[in-house]
Amino acid sequence: MPPPPPDPKVLPLDPGASPELTRAILARTSGDPCHRLRDLACDFVDGTLEPGQASLARLHLGHCEACSALVETLASLQVDLPALAEVDPGPWFTQAVMRATRHQPLQGNAGLHGLWWRLMHRPRIALEAAYLGAAAGLMGIYLPLPTLTPRVPALVQPLGDSALRVAGQMAQAERRTSASLQRSLRPIVHPRPVPSAKASLWQRLSSWTKARLQAFRKAQAPPASLETQKLHPANP
């Protein structure tokens, strides 16, 4: 039975008809369909493309050598890439690892000992220790010390009101005496100014710098001449 004559209203879907003509028509209408295929290529290779799209992609691949090569390479990568997961490091590698781990302490438990060991074996531990040491040193040098309060001796026996009164009067007298003694001695001994506990760090630093500068100037000053020494014998 002879084949029926083709319907002139329906275009024949013949893959091998005229690829140049198809390309020319696409170039003047929708453009190159290879971009669209590249978007779908991975899903096509994985088999996750819906059947309609897959048949269209298959039709394009029948004509386009470049896309066909790309899809074939993608398919071959599915075999090639997992094969790269394991690479033999050589025959002596396991022995080298066993030697390297022979003297390592085994941290089998996650207790405090393991935590301490991990903390102490971090690369940054030296830097952190140096930082903490420097911070502690600076705090010890520059931070004001707490005021020393006179220690009250522990009373062995409870005292009555009169005894407490006498003790209070004695303490007041002692404090007055020591204050007057300090006032009288200050011009003689020129005591070094003691920074108070409430003085700020800047005040302490500036007074310390001034004292150092004075001492330095005194040391660097030229010796007094003979006439000066005669006029001011106390000043060498």
Partner: protein
């Protein structure tokens, strides 16, 4: 022997169990380190470091399914640290990348082995031309076979990014192989 049982023996100090553990994972760790560093000698040193670190942190090794992603994460961290150090202080001279894919001896036809070796080497070189993120996604997803969520956790990127980047990276790799005439 199951991995959980093996790990319990290792934690008890059984050296044979530790050797079995090393032999089970050394190929994967070395392969990953080699893909990161491209130098076999560096990769061997880094792989040793990885196992020493695992040995020091045996209490933290997850059992069963979480073990391989954990090891891969440690390997990646050590390799990235190494690459940063190498970038800061580059070696005096650059050794050519070792062709280590021919180290494995097999009983197959030598021609087949040679073709496979050439192909693996070309794929490895093409991988080095990808961007860092694309290469890592290929390494972790296609080569090591990790899941999208695990990769997103390791790389600290959204799962959607991993998915879209994965297809793009595969396509880029295939295009590079076709360009050098290594298409299938």
């Amino acid at each position: 022997m199951e991995l959980t049982q093996l790990l319990n023996l290792v934690r008890c100090g059984d050296e044979l169990a530790w050797e079995a553990f090393v032999r089970s994972f050394q190929g994967r760790v070395f392969g990953l380190a080699y893909h990161y560093t491209t130098q076999a000698e560096d990769a061997r040193d880094l792989t040793q470091d990885v196992f020493v670190r695992i040995y020091q942190n045996l209490a933290l090794v997850p059992d069963e399914a979480g073990c391989l992603p954990w090891i891969i994460r440690i390997t990646r961290n050590i390799c990235i640290d190494h690459l940063r150090r190498r970038k800061a202080r580059p070696p005096l001279w650059d050794l050519p990348a070792d062709e280590l894919f021919d180290l494995r001896s097999t009983d197959r036809n030598p021609e087949e082995v040679h073709l496979e070796t050439v192909r693996k080497t070309m794929v490895h070189r093409a991988l080095q031309e990808l961007t860092d993120l694309n290469r890592e996604i290929i390494l972790l997803k296609e080569i090591q076979g990790l899941g999208l969520e695990e990769i997103a956790g390791i790389l600290d990127v959204p799962v959607g990014t991993v998915k879209s980047r994965s297809n793009r990276a595969r396509l880029e790799l295939a295009q590079k192989l076709v360009a050098v005439g290594m298409g299938a």
